[in-house]
Protein backbone atom coordinates (compact mmCIF):
# COMPACT_ATOMS: atom_id res chain seq x y z
CA UNK A 1 0.00 0.00 0.00
CA UNK A 2 1.30 3.42 -0.86
CA UNK A 3 -0.11 6.93 -0.78
CA UNK A 4 0.87 10.39 -2.02
CA UNK A 5 -0.69 13.83 -2.50
CA UNK A 6 -0.24 15.47 -5.91
CA UNK A 7 -2.20 18.56 -7.01
CA UNK A 8 -4.60 18.33 -4.10
CA UNK A 9 -5.40 14.75 -5.03
CA UNK A 10 -4.67 11.95 -2.53
CA UNK A 11 -3.65 8.86 -4.48
CA UNK A 12 -4.15 5.55 -2.71
CA UNK A 13 -2.65 2.45 -4.30
CA UNK A 14 -2.62 -1.27 -3.66
CA UNK A 15 -4.69 -3.13 -1.12
CA UNK A 16 -6.67 -1.44 1.60
CA UNK A 17 -7.70 -4.05 4.13
CA UNK A 18 -7.56 -4.83 7.85
CA UNK A 19 -3.85 -5.70 7.54
CA UNK A 20 -2.70 -2.58 5.71
CA UNK A 21 -5.10 0.04 7.07
CA UNK A 22 -3.36 0.64 10.46
CA UNK A 23 -0.09 1.61 8.68
CA UNK A 24 -1.81 3.57 5.96
CA UNK A 25 -3.82 5.42 8.58
CA UNK A 26 -0.62 6.70 10.21
CA UNK A 27 0.97 7.50 6.84
CA UNK A 28 -2.03 9.44 5.54
CA UNK A 29 -2.37 11.28 8.85
CA UNK A 30 1.17 12.60 8.52
CA UNK A 31 0.54 13.58 4.87
CA UNK A 32 -2.63 15.41 5.84
CA UNK A 33 -0.73 17.57 8.29
CA UNK A 34 1.14 19.12 5.35
CA UNK A 35 -1.58 19.37 2.72
CA UNK A 36 -5.31 19.03 2.62
CA UNK A 37 -6.57 17.28 -0.54
CA UNK A 38 -10.02 17.84 -2.06
CA UNK A 39 -10.12 14.58 -4.01
CA UNK A 40 -9.18 11.00 -3.27
CA UNK A 41 -8.15 8.82 -6.18
CA UNK A 42 -8.94 5.14 -5.87
CA UNK A 43 -8.16 4.00 -9.42
CA UNK A 44 -5.19 1.91 -8.26
CA UNK A 45 -6.85 0.34 -5.24
CA UNK A 46 -7.29 -3.32 -6.04
CA UNK A 47 -8.35 -4.83 -2.70
CA UNK A 48 -10.83 -3.20 -0.37
CA UNK A 49 -12.62 -4.64 2.66
CA UNK A 50 -14.78 -3.21 5.40
CA UNK A 51 -11.77 -1.93 7.33
CA UNK A 52 -10.67 -0.09 4.18
CA UNK A 53 -14.09 1.42 3.72
CA UNK A 54 -14.16 2.49 7.38
CA UNK A 55 -10.83 4.21 6.73
CA UNK A 56 -12.22 6.02 3.66
CA UNK A 57 -15.28 7.08 5.67
CA UNK A 58 -13.04 8.41 8.40
CA UNK A 59 -11.10 10.47 5.81
CA UNK A 60 -14.34 11.61 4.27
CA UNK A 61 -15.80 12.81 7.58
CA UNK A 62 -12.61 14.58 8.53
CA UNK A 63 -11.85 16.26 5.20
CA UNK A 64 -15.42 17.18 4.30
CA UNK A 65 -15.43 19.40 7.36
CA UNK A 66 -12.74 21.50 5.68
CA UNK A 67 -14.20 21.51 2.16
CA UNK A 68 -15.89 19.32 -0.39
CA UNK A 69 -14.27 15.93 -0.87
CA UNK A 70 -14.60 13.81 -3.98
CA UNK A 71 -13.74 10.22 -4.67
CA UNK A 72 -12.64 9.35 -8.17
CA UNK A 73 -11.51 6.45 -10.26
CA UNK A 74 -12.95 3.59 -8.25
CA UNK A 75 -13.61 0.48 -10.33
CA UNK A 76 -17.21 -0.80 -10.23
CA UNK A 77 -16.20 -3.64 -7.89
CA UNK A 78 -14.47 -1.28 -5.48
CA UNK A 79 -17.41 1.14 -5.66
CA UNK A 80 -19.77 -1.71 -4.81
CA UNK A 81 -17.75 -2.57 -1.71
CA UNK A 82 -17.77 1.09 -0.68
CA UNK A 83 -21.53 1.28 -1.11
CA UNK A 84 -22.22 -1.80 0.93
CA UNK A 85 -19.84 -1.02 3.80
CA UNK A 86 -20.12 2.75 4.10
CA UNK A 87 -20.95 3.87 7.61
CA UNK A 88 -21.73 7.47 6.66
CA UNK A 89 -25.48 7.17 6.48
CA UNK A 90 -25.95 4.98 9.53
CA UNK A 91 -27.75 6.48 12.48
CA UNK A 92 -26.11 5.32 15.69
CA UNK A 93 -28.12 5.23 18.91
CA UNK A 94 -26.73 7.34 21.73
CA UNK A 95 -25.09 5.30 24.46
CA UNK A 96 -27.20 4.87 27.55
CA UNK A 97 -26.59 7.52 30.19
CA UNK A 98 -24.48 6.30 33.08
CA UNK A 99 -25.80 6.82 36.61
CA UNK A 100 -24.08 9.26 38.94
CA UNK A 101 -22.71 8.29 42.36
CA UNK A 102 -25.70 9.38 44.46
CA UNK A 103 -28.13 8.08 41.87
CA UNK A 104 -26.47 4.67 42.15
CA UNK A 105 -26.71 4.70 45.95
CA UNK A 106 -30.37 5.71 45.80
CA UNK A 107 -31.04 3.11 43.15
CA UNK A 108 -29.50 0.30 45.15
CA UNK A 109 -31.40 1.39 48.29
CA UNK A 110 -34.69 1.32 46.41
CA UNK A 111 -33.72 -2.05 44.96
CA UNK A 112 -32.83 -3.41 48.40
CA UNK A 113 -36.19 -2.20 49.71
CA UNK A 114 -38.03 -3.88 46.84
CA UNK A 115 -36.07 -7.08 47.34
CA UNK A 116 -36.88 -7.11 51.05
CA UNK A 117 -40.56 -6.62 50.31
CA UNK A 118 -40.51 -9.42 47.73
CA UNK A 119 -38.64 -11.79 50.04
CA UNK A 120 -41.30 -11.15 52.67
CA UNK A 121 -44.01 -11.88 50.10
CA UNK A 122 -42.33 -15.13 49.13
CA UNK A 123 -41.81 -15.99 52.82
CA UNK A 124 -45.50 -15.52 53.55
CA UNK A 125 -46.36 -17.75 50.61
CA UNK A 126 -43.88 -20.41 51.71
CA UNK A 127 -45.21 -20.38 55.29
CA UNK A 128 -48.80 -20.56 54.07
CA UNK A 129 -48.14 -23.57 51.85
CA UNK A 130 -45.82 -25.16 54.41
CA UNK A 131 -48.57 -25.13 57.04
CA UNK A 132 -51.14 -26.43 54.58
CA UNK A 133 -48.61 -29.00 53.41
CA UNK A 134 -48.45 -30.55 56.91
CA UNK A 135 -52.09 -31.59 56.57
CA UNK A 136 -52.36 -32.20 52.87
CA UNK A 137 -49.72 -33.52 50.50
CA UNK A 138 -51.63 -32.33 47.45
CA UNK A 139 -49.46 -30.60 44.89
CA UNK A 140 -46.29 -32.30 46.13
CA UNK A 141 -44.67 -35.38 44.72
CA UNK A 142 -44.60 -38.49 46.82
CA UNK A 143 -41.30 -39.07 48.52
CA UNK A 144 -40.01 -35.58 47.87
CA UNK A 145 -39.75 -34.88 51.60
CA UNK A 146 -37.58 -37.94 52.17
CA UNK A 147 -35.37 -37.16 49.18
CA UNK A 148 -34.87 -33.60 50.41
CA UNK A 149 -34.09 -34.81 53.95
CA UNK A 150 -31.36 -36.96 52.52
CA UNK A 151 -30.03 -34.23 50.19
CA UNK A 152 -30.08 -31.40 52.70
CA UNK A 153 -29.39 -33.45 55.80
CA UNK A 154 -27.54 -36.73 55.70
CA UNK A 155 -25.37 -35.83 52.72
CA UNK A 156 -24.12 -32.76 54.59
CA UNK A 157 -22.97 -34.84 57.57
CA UNK A 158 -19.42 -35.74 56.45
CA UNK A 159 -18.30 -32.19 55.68
CA UNK A 160 -20.16 -30.84 58.71
CA UNK A 161 -18.50 -33.30 61.08
CA UNK A 162 -15.06 -32.64 59.67
CA UNK A 163 -15.41 -28.87 60.04
CA UNK A 164 -17.03 -29.08 63.47
CA UNK A 165 -14.29 -31.34 64.72
CA UNK A 166 -11.58 -29.01 63.49
CA UNK A 167 -13.27 -25.89 64.89
CA UNK A 168 -13.84 -27.56 68.27
CA UNK A 169 -10.23 -28.66 68.31
CA UNK A 170 -8.88 -25.19 67.44
CA UNK A 171 -11.13 -23.33 69.85
CA UNK A 172 -10.22 -25.66 72.69
CA UNK A 173 -6.51 -25.42 71.87
CA UNK A 174 -6.53 -21.61 71.83
CA UNK A 175 -8.56 -21.39 75.04
CA UNK A 176 -6.57 -24.01 76.91
CA UNK A 177 -3.32 -22.05 76.54
CA UNK A 178 -4.91 -19.06 78.24
CA UNK A 179 -6.78 -21.09 80.85
CA UNK A 180 -3.65 -23.03 81.79
CA UNK A 181 -1.98 -19.70 82.67
CA UNK A 182 -4.58 -19.13 85.38
CA UNK A 183 -4.71 -22.73 86.45
CA UNK A 184 -8.35 -22.73 85.41
CA UNK A 185 -8.01 -25.93 83.40
CA UNK A 186 -11.33 -27.36 84.36
CA UNK A 187 -13.24 -24.40 82.87
CA UNK A 188 -12.38 -25.57 79.38
CA UNK A 189 -15.44 -27.82 79.59
CA UNK A 190 -17.72 -24.91 80.50
CA UNK A 191 -16.28 -22.75 77.78
CA UNK A 192 -16.59 -25.40 75.08
CA UNK A 193 -20.12 -26.34 76.05
CA UNK A 194 -21.30 -22.76 76.18
CA UNK A 195 -19.57 -21.58 73.03
CA UNK A 196 -20.48 -24.59 70.96
CA UNK A 197 -24.11 -24.93 71.98
CA UNK A 198 -25.07 -21.29 72.10
CA UNK A 199 -23.06 -19.87 69.25
CA UNK A 200 -20.62 -21.78 67.15
CA UNK A 201 -22.39 -25.02 66.23
CA UNK A 202 -25.58 -23.32 64.94
CA UNK A 203 -23.51 -20.76 63.07
CA UNK A 204 -21.14 -23.26 61.44
CA UNK A 205 -24.03 -25.51 60.48
CA UNK A 206 -25.92 -22.56 59.01
CA UNK A 207 -22.90 -21.44 57.00
CA UNK A 208 -22.35 -24.94 55.63
CA UNK A 209 -26.03 -25.36 54.83
CA UNK A 210 -26.07 -21.94 53.13
CA UNK A 211 -23.03 -22.80 51.05
CA UNK A 212 -24.16 -26.30 50.22
CA UNK A 213 -27.93 -26.42 50.22
CA UNK A 214 -28.82 -22.73 49.80
CA UNK A 215 -26.76 -22.54 46.64
CA UNK A 216 -28.18 -25.83 45.38
CA UNK A 217 -31.73 -24.59 45.94
CA UNK A 218 -30.99 -21.29 44.19
CA UNK A 219 -29.35 -22.93 41.18
CA UNK A 220 -32.03 -25.60 40.89
CA UNK A 221 -34.86 -23.05 40.88
CA UNK A 222 -32.90 -20.64 38.66
CA UNK A 223 -32.32 -23.39 36.09
CA UNK A 224 -36.00 -24.27 36.23
CA UNK A 225 -36.81 -20.61 35.68
CA UNK A 226 -34.45 -20.29 32.69
CA UNK A 227 -35.69 -23.47 31.03
CA UNK A 228 -39.35 -22.42 31.56
CA UNK A 229 -40.01 -25.35 33.93
CA UNK A 230 -41.51 -22.96 36.48
CA UNK A 231 -43.89 -21.66 33.81
CA UNK A 232 -44.73 -25.24 32.87
CA UNK A 233 -45.65 -26.00 36.51
CA UNK A 234 -47.86 -22.92 36.62
CA UNK A 235 -49.71 -23.94 33.48
CA UNK A 236 -50.26 -27.39 35.00
CA UNK A 237 -52.04 -25.55 37.83
CA UNK A 238 -49.27 -26.43 40.31
CA UNK A 239 -47.88 -23.80 42.62
CA UNK A 240 -44.09 -23.67 42.08
CA UNK A 241 -43.67 -22.71 45.72
CA UNK A 242 -45.72 -25.66 46.87
CA UNK A 243 -44.14 -28.13 44.47
CA UNK A 244 -40.49 -27.05 44.69
CA UNK A 245 -39.92 -25.04 47.85
CA UNK A 246 -42.22 -26.59 50.44
CA UNK A 247 -40.62 -30.09 50.49
CA UNK A 248 -37.23 -28.43 51.03
CA UNK A 249 -38.71 -26.20 53.71
CA UNK A 250 -40.20 -29.15 55.59
CA UNK A 251 -37.04 -31.17 55.21
CA UNK A 252 -34.71 -28.45 56.43
CA UNK A 253 -36.97 -27.75 59.44
CA UNK A 254 -36.53 -31.34 60.53
CA UNK A 255 -32.87 -31.90 59.68
CA UNK A 256 -31.36 -28.61 60.79
CA UNK A 257 -31.66 -29.24 64.59
CA UNK A 258 -30.29 -32.72 64.02
CA UNK A 259 -27.34 -31.32 62.09
CA UNK A 260 -26.68 -28.81 64.89
CA UNK A 261 -26.89 -31.56 67.49
CA UNK A 262 -24.40 -33.56 65.51
CA UNK A 263 -22.12 -30.58 65.10
CA UNK A 264 -22.17 -29.94 68.89
CA UNK A 265 -21.29 -33.56 69.58
CA UNK A 266 -18.44 -33.78 67.14
CA UNK A 267 -16.95 -30.42 68.13
CA UNK A 268 -17.12 -31.47 71.79
CA UNK A 269 -15.11 -34.54 70.86
CA UNK A 270 -12.54 -32.32 69.12
CA UNK A 271 -12.41 -29.99 72.13
CA UNK A 272 -12.41 -32.89 74.60
CA UNK A 273 -9.31 -34.39 73.01
CA UNK A 274 -7.36 -31.24 73.83
CA UNK A 275 -8.87 -30.97 77.31
CA UNK A 276 -7.95 -34.55 78.16
CA UNK A 277 -4.59 -34.67 76.48
CA UNK A 278 -3.24 -31.14 77.04
CA UNK A 279 -5.03 -30.02 80.21
CA UNK A 280 -5.09 -33.43 81.91
CA UNK A 281 -8.82 -33.45 82.54
CA UNK A 282 -10.49 -36.81 82.97
CA UNK A 283 -13.17 -37.82 80.52
CA UNK A 284 -15.67 -37.99 83.37
CA UNK A 285 -14.94 -34.42 84.56
CA UNK A 286 -15.15 -33.04 81.05
CA UNK A 287 -18.49 -34.66 80.31
CA UNK A 288 -19.88 -33.99 83.76
CA UNK A 289 -19.07 -30.27 83.71
CA UNK A 290 -20.27 -29.89 80.13
CA UNK A 291 -23.64 -31.34 81.01
CA UNK A 292 -23.96 -29.47 84.30
CA UNK A 293 -23.21 -26.07 82.85
CA UNK A 294 -25.88 -26.28 80.17
CA UNK A 295 -29.50 -25.43 80.82
CA UNK A 296 -32.53 -26.44 78.84
CA UNK A 297 -32.89 -22.82 77.71
CA UNK A 298 -29.46 -22.97 76.04
CA UNK A 299 -30.41 -26.03 74.03
CA UNK A 300 -33.85 -24.73 73.07
CA UNK A 301 -32.40 -21.39 71.97
CA UNK A 302 -29.71 -23.13 69.99
CA UNK A 303 -32.04 -25.45 68.10
CA UNK A 304 -34.67 -22.74 67.81
CA UNK A 305 -32.36 -20.29 66.16
CA UNK A 306 -30.89 -22.95 63.91
CA UNK A 307 -34.40 -23.55 62.54
CA UNK A 308 -34.82 -19.81 61.90
CA UNK A 309 -31.44 -19.82 60.10
CA UNK A 310 -32.55 -22.77 57.98
CA UNK A 311 -35.82 -21.10 56.99
CA UNK A 312 -33.93 -17.94 56.08
CA UNK A 313 -31.53 -19.91 53.89
CA UNK A 314 -34.28 -21.77 52.05
CA UNK A 315 -36.37 -18.65 51.46
CA UNK A 316 -33.43 -16.56 50.28
CA UNK A 317 -32.20 -19.40 48.05
CA UNK A 318 -35.65 -19.80 46.52
CA UNK A 319 -36.05 -16.05 46.11
CA UNK A 320 -32.72 -15.70 44.27
CA UNK A 321 -33.72 -18.61 42.04
CA UNK A 322 -37.12 -17.19 41.16
CA UNK A 323 -35.61 -13.77 40.41
CA UNK A 324 -33.49 -15.02 37.50
CA UNK A 325 -34.14 -13.50 34.12
CA UNK A 326 -32.38 -14.08 30.81
CA UNK A 327 -30.00 -16.88 30.10
CA UNK A 328 -27.66 -19.31 31.75
CA UNK A 329 -25.36 -16.69 33.24
CA UNK A 330 -28.26 -15.64 35.50
CA UNK A 331 -28.03 -19.04 37.20
CA UNK A 332 -24.49 -18.42 38.36
CA UNK A 333 -25.34 -14.95 39.61
CA UNK A 334 -28.39 -16.26 41.50
CA UNK A 335 -26.29 -18.93 43.19
CA UNK A 336 -23.61 -16.48 44.28
CA UNK A 337 -26.05 -13.91 45.56
CA UNK A 338 -28.06 -16.53 47.44
CA UNK A 339 -24.97 -17.66 49.37
CA UNK A 340 -23.83 -14.11 50.15
CA UNK A 341 -27.30 -12.93 51.15
CA UNK A 342 -28.14 -15.95 53.27
CA UNK A 343 -24.85 -15.90 55.21
CA UNK A 344 -25.40 -12.17 55.79
CA UNK A 345 -28.96 -12.79 56.98
CA UNK A 346 -27.86 -15.65 59.22
CA UNK A 347 -25.29 -13.46 60.96
CA UNK A 348 -27.85 -10.67 61.43
CA UNK A 349 -30.27 -13.20 62.97
CA UNK A 350 -27.49 -14.48 65.18
CA UNK A 351 -26.79 -10.97 66.45
CA UNK A 352 -30.48 -10.47 67.21
CA UNK A 353 -30.66 -13.76 69.10
CA UNK A 354 -27.51 -12.97 71.05
CA UNK A 355 -29.05 -9.70 72.18
CA UNK A 356 -32.37 -11.31 73.09
CA UNK A 357 -31.02 -14.30 75.03
CA UNK A 358 -27.81 -13.11 76.57
Amino acid sequence: MSCKIVNNILYLEGSLNAETVPETFIEVNSLLKQKSPNTIDLSNVNVLDSAGVAFLDELNTRLSAEGILLFQGATPEIQEVIDSFSSLKIKVPAPERKMGFFEKIGDSLVLAGQNFYNVMLLASEVFYWAIIGIFSRKGQRKGSFTIQCSLLGSQALPILSLLSFIVGFILSLQASVQLANFGANVFIADLMAFAMVREIAPLITAIIVAGRSGSAIASEIATMQVTEEIDALKTMALSPVRYVVVPKFHAITVVMPILVMFSILVSEIGGGLIAIDYLDLSVYTFVQRSINVLTLKDLVTSFGKSVIFAWTIVIIGAYCGFQVKGGAEGVGKATTSSVVASIFAVIIWDAIFSLLYL
Partner: protein
Protein backbone atom coordinates in the same frame (compact mmCIF):
# COMPACT_ATOMS: atom_id res chain seq x y z
CA UNK B 1 -10.84 -24.15 -9.91
CA UNK B 2 -8.97 -25.07 -6.72
CA UNK B 3 -11.24 -26.03 -3.82
CA UNK B 4 -10.92 -23.91 -0.64
CA UNK B 5 -11.86 -26.81 1.57
CA UNK B 6 -11.25 -30.37 0.63
CA UNK B 7 -12.29 -33.25 2.83
CA UNK B 8 -11.12 -36.80 2.22
CA UNK B 9 -12.36 -40.02 3.84
CA UNK B 10 -13.48 -38.29 7.02
CA UNK B 11 -14.68 -40.65 9.74
CA UNK B 12 -16.04 -39.39 13.04
CA UNK B 13 -17.37 -41.36 15.99
CA UNK B 14 -18.97 -40.64 19.32
CA UNK B 15 -17.91 -43.66 21.34
CA UNK B 16 -18.83 -46.65 19.22
CA UNK B 17 -21.41 -44.77 17.21
CA UNK B 18 -20.16 -43.80 13.75
CA UNK B 19 -21.53 -40.32 13.04
CA UNK B 20 -19.68 -39.59 9.82
CA UNK B 21 -18.78 -42.46 7.55
CA UNK B 22 -16.13 -41.85 4.91
CA UNK B 23 -17.08 -38.36 3.77
CA UNK B 24 -15.12 -36.92 0.82
CA UNK B 25 -16.14 -33.56 -0.56
CA UNK B 26 -14.72 -30.35 -2.06
CA UNK B 27 -16.00 -26.87 -1.38
CA UNK B 28 -15.23 -24.27 -4.03
CA UNK B 29 -14.56 -20.55 -3.60
CA UNK B 30 -17.37 -18.02 -4.01
CA UNK B 31 -20.06 -20.67 -3.72
CA UNK B 32 -22.74 -21.28 -1.16
CA UNK B 33 -22.63 -24.93 -0.18
CA UNK B 34 -25.57 -26.21 1.80
CA UNK B 35 -25.17 -29.28 4.00
CA UNK B 36 -28.60 -30.82 4.43
CA UNK B 37 -30.28 -33.88 5.71
CA UNK B 38 -32.69 -34.92 8.43
CA UNK B 39 -32.09 -34.27 12.13
CA UNK B 40 -29.28 -36.34 13.60
CA UNK B 41 -27.70 -37.22 10.25
CA UNK B 42 -24.36 -35.65 11.21
CA UNK B 43 -24.64 -32.17 9.67
CA UNK B 44 -23.45 -30.27 12.71
CA UNK B 45 -20.84 -32.93 13.44
CA UNK B 46 -19.43 -32.48 9.94
CA UNK B 47 -19.20 -28.74 10.54
CA UNK B 48 -17.50 -29.27 13.90
CA UNK B 49 -15.02 -31.66 12.32
CA UNK B 50 -14.20 -29.20 9.56
CA UNK B 51 -13.56 -26.51 12.19
CA UNK B 52 -11.58 -28.94 14.35
CA UNK B 53 -13.88 -28.40 17.31
CA UNK B 54 -14.11 -32.18 17.32
CA UNK B 55 -11.16 -34.29 16.21
CA UNK B 56 -12.13 -36.87 13.60
CA UNK B 57 -11.08 -40.50 13.97
CA UNK B 58 -9.41 -40.51 10.58
CA UNK B 59 -9.38 -38.66 7.28
CA UNK B 60 -8.09 -35.34 6.09
CA UNK B 61 -9.41 -31.76 6.06
CA UNK B 62 -7.53 -29.24 3.91
CA UNK B 63 -8.07 -25.49 3.83
CA UNK B 64 -6.47 -23.86 0.79
CA UNK B 65 -4.50 -27.04 0.29
CA UNK B 66 -3.13 -27.08 3.85
CA UNK B 67 -3.90 -30.09 6.05
CA UNK B 68 -5.38 -28.63 9.27
CA UNK B 69 -5.45 -31.80 11.34
CA UNK B 70 -1.63 -31.62 11.62
CA UNK B 71 -1.41 -27.91 12.44
CA UNK B 72 -0.32 -26.57 15.83
CA UNK B 73 -2.26 -23.82 17.61
CA UNK B 74 -0.34 -20.91 16.06
CA UNK B 75 -0.79 -22.17 12.52
CA UNK B 76 -4.41 -23.02 13.19
CA UNK B 77 -5.00 -19.47 14.43
CA UNK B 78 -3.93 -18.14 11.04
CA UNK B 79 -6.53 -20.33 9.35
CA UNK B 80 -9.21 -19.47 11.91
CA UNK B 81 -8.73 -15.74 11.31
CA UNK B 82 -9.95 -16.23 7.77
CA UNK B 83 -13.07 -18.05 8.96
CA UNK B 84 -16.29 -16.80 10.49
CA UNK B 85 -18.75 -19.05 12.28
CA UNK B 86 -22.38 -18.44 13.12
CA UNK B 87 -23.48 -20.95 15.74
CA UNK B 88 -26.93 -22.43 16.03
CA UNK B 89 -27.79 -20.54 19.23
CA UNK B 90 -25.80 -17.46 18.29
CA UNK B 91 -23.23 -18.05 21.05
CA UNK B 92 -22.82 -14.36 21.85
CA UNK B 93 -20.82 -13.77 25.01
CA UNK B 94 -23.55 -13.02 27.51
CA UNK B 95 -21.62 -10.92 29.96
CA UNK B 96 -20.75 -8.16 27.49
CA UNK B 97 -22.78 -5.91 25.20
CA UNK B 98 -23.42 -6.52 21.50
CA UNK B 99 -20.96 -3.75 20.69
CA UNK B 100 -18.20 -5.45 22.71
CA UNK B 101 -19.07 -8.84 21.27
CA UNK B 102 -18.38 -7.60 17.76
CA UNK B 103 -15.37 -5.55 18.77
CA UNK B 104 -13.56 -8.55 20.31
CA UNK B 105 -12.23 -10.08 17.06
CA UNK B 106 -11.42 -6.63 15.67
CA UNK B 107 -9.56 -5.57 18.80
CA UNK B 108 -7.65 -8.79 19.32
CA UNK B 109 -6.76 -9.64 15.74
CA UNK B 110 -6.11 -6.27 14.09
CA UNK B 111 -4.26 -3.10 14.96
CA UNK B 112 -7.05 -0.85 13.72
CA UNK B 113 -7.60 2.41 15.61
CA UNK B 114 -10.70 2.65 17.81
CA UNK B 115 -12.49 5.12 15.52
CA UNK B 116 -12.29 2.69 12.61
CA UNK B 117 -13.34 -0.28 14.77
CA UNK B 118 -16.41 1.71 15.82
CA UNK B 119 -17.27 2.38 12.19
CA UNK B 120 -16.84 -1.28 11.24
CA UNK B 121 -19.08 -2.38 14.11
CA UNK B 122 -21.75 0.10 13.03
CA UNK B 123 -21.57 -1.11 9.44
CA UNK B 124 -21.74 -4.78 10.34
CA UNK B 125 -24.70 -4.24 12.65
CA UNK B 126 -26.38 -2.12 10.00
CA UNK B 127 -25.86 -4.94 7.48
CA UNK B 128 -27.88 -7.26 9.71
CA UNK B 129 -30.44 -4.49 10.43
CA UNK B 130 -29.62 -4.23 14.11
CA UNK B 131 -28.17 -0.73 14.50
CA UNK B 132 -30.53 0.02 17.38
CA UNK B 133 -29.20 -2.66 19.75
CA UNK B 134 -25.58 -1.52 19.77
CA UNK B 135 -25.36 -1.05 23.56
CA UNK B 136 -27.77 -3.78 24.58
CA UNK B 137 -26.80 -7.06 26.21
CA UNK B 138 -27.50 -10.44 24.55
CA UNK B 139 -30.02 -11.34 27.28
CA UNK B 140 -32.13 -8.35 26.20
CA UNK B 141 -32.41 -9.55 22.58
CA UNK B 142 -34.94 -11.84 20.94
CA UNK B 143 -33.86 -15.12 19.31
CA UNK B 144 -33.72 -13.66 15.81
CA UNK B 145 -31.83 -10.57 16.97
CA UNK B 146 -29.27 -12.72 18.77
CA UNK B 147 -28.67 -14.69 15.61
CA UNK B 148 -28.27 -11.56 13.52
CA UNK B 149 -25.92 -10.01 16.09
CA UNK B 150 -23.93 -13.25 16.06
CA UNK B 151 -23.74 -13.04 12.26
CA UNK B 152 -22.42 -9.49 12.59
CA UNK B 153 -19.71 -10.84 14.88
CA UNK B 154 -18.93 -13.70 12.50
CA UNK B 155 -18.36 -11.28 9.60
CA UNK B 156 -16.52 -8.65 11.68
CA UNK B 157 -13.16 -9.56 10.14
CA UNK B 158 -14.52 -10.03 6.59
CA UNK B 159 -13.80 -13.76 6.65
CA UNK B 160 -13.10 -15.60 3.43
CA UNK B 161 -15.22 -18.54 4.48
CA UNK B 162 -18.36 -18.21 6.56
CA UNK B 163 -19.92 -21.22 8.29
CA UNK B 164 -23.54 -20.96 9.39
CA UNK B 165 -25.11 -23.66 11.55
CA UNK B 166 -28.87 -23.57 10.99
CA UNK B 167 -29.06 -19.81 10.51
CA UNK B 168 -32.81 -19.71 10.00
CA UNK B 169 -33.87 -22.30 12.59
CA UNK B 170 -36.42 -20.83 14.98
CA UNK B 171 -36.89 -17.65 12.96
CA UNK B 172 -40.07 -16.44 11.29
CA UNK B 173 -40.14 -16.79 7.48
CA UNK B 174 -39.59 -13.07 6.88
CA UNK B 175 -36.54 -12.84 9.15
CA UNK B 176 -35.25 -16.11 7.71
CA UNK B 177 -35.63 -14.73 4.19
CA UNK B 178 -33.82 -11.52 5.09
CA UNK B 179 -31.01 -13.55 6.60
CA UNK B 180 -30.79 -15.51 3.34
CA UNK B 181 -30.66 -12.24 1.40
CA UNK B 182 -27.85 -11.14 3.65
CA UNK B 183 -25.93 -14.35 3.04
CA UNK B 184 -26.38 -13.91 -0.71
CA UNK B 185 -25.13 -10.33 -0.59
CA UNK B 186 -22.09 -11.38 1.46
CA UNK B 187 -21.27 -13.90 -1.20
CA UNK B 188 -21.69 -11.36 -3.97
CA UNK B 189 -19.98 -8.35 -2.44
CA UNK B 190 -17.18 -9.98 -0.50
CA UNK B 191 -16.85 -13.04 -2.71
CA UNK B 192 -17.19 -15.04 0.47
CA UNK B 193 -17.34 -18.82 0.39
CA UNK B 194 -20.26 -19.84 2.55
CA UNK B 195 -21.10 -23.20 4.09
CA UNK B 196 -24.60 -23.43 5.51
CA UNK B 197 -26.05 -26.26 7.54
CA UNK B 198 -29.82 -26.26 7.29
CA UNK B 199 -32.91 -28.28 6.62
CA UNK B 200 -35.17 -25.36 5.69
CA UNK B 201 -36.29 -26.04 2.12
CA UNK B 202 -37.16 -22.42 1.36
CA UNK B 203 -33.71 -21.40 2.41
CA UNK B 204 -32.06 -24.12 0.33
CA UNK B 205 -33.92 -22.98 -2.79
CA UNK B 206 -32.97 -19.36 -2.22
CA UNK B 207 -29.27 -19.68 -1.54
CA UNK B 208 -27.79 -23.02 -2.50
CA UNK B 209 -25.21 -23.24 -5.30
CA UNK B 210 -24.21 -26.74 -4.28
CA UNK B 211 -25.73 -29.16 -1.84
CA UNK B 212 -24.25 -31.95 0.22
CA UNK B 213 -26.91 -34.42 1.29
CA UNK B 214 -26.17 -36.51 4.36
CA UNK B 215 -28.10 -39.50 5.59
CA UNK B 216 -27.07 -41.45 8.69
CA UNK B 217 -23.52 -40.20 8.45
CA UNK B 218 -23.07 -41.09 4.79
CA UNK B 219 -22.92 -38.62 1.94
CA UNK B 220 -25.66 -39.53 -0.52
CA UNK B 221 -25.17 -36.67 -2.93
CA UNK B 222 -22.92 -33.74 -3.75
CA UNK B 223 -23.74 -31.33 -6.58
CA UNK B 224 -26.18 -28.63 -7.62
CA UNK B 225 -29.80 -28.52 -6.55
CA UNK B 226 -31.09 -29.31 -10.07
CA UNK B 227 -28.81 -32.31 -10.34
CA UNK B 228 -30.00 -33.49 -6.94
CA UNK B 229 -33.63 -33.39 -8.02
CA UNK B 230 -32.85 -35.31 -11.18
CA UNK B 231 -30.52 -37.82 -9.56
CA UNK B 232 -33.38 -40.15 -8.62
CA UNK B 233 -32.13 -40.87 -5.11
CA UNK B 234 -35.25 -41.88 -3.12
CA UNK B 235 -34.20 -40.23 0.17
CA UNK B 236 -33.54 -36.90 -1.54
CA UNK B 237 -36.80 -37.06 -3.49
CA UNK B 238 -38.69 -37.74 -0.26
CA UNK B 239 -36.89 -34.89 1.47
CA UNK B 240 -37.96 -32.38 -1.18
CA UNK B 241 -41.42 -33.92 -1.60
CA UNK B 242 -42.36 -33.90 2.09
CA UNK B 243 -41.17 -30.36 2.59
CA UNK B 244 -43.34 -28.97 -0.19
CA UNK B 245 -46.72 -27.52 0.72
Amino acid sequence: MEPVISIRNLIAKYGDLTVLDDISVDIFPGEITVILGSSGCGKTTLLKNILRLVEPVSGSVKFWGEEILDLDDVQMEKILRKLGVLFQSGALLNSISVYENISIPLELHTKLPRSLIDRIIQVKLNLVNLSEVLYKFPSELSGGMKKRAALARAIALDPQILFCDEPSAGLDPLTAASLDELILSLKKQLKMTIVVVTHELASIHRIADKIIFLEEGKMLFNGTLEEAKKAGIPQIDTFFEVGRF
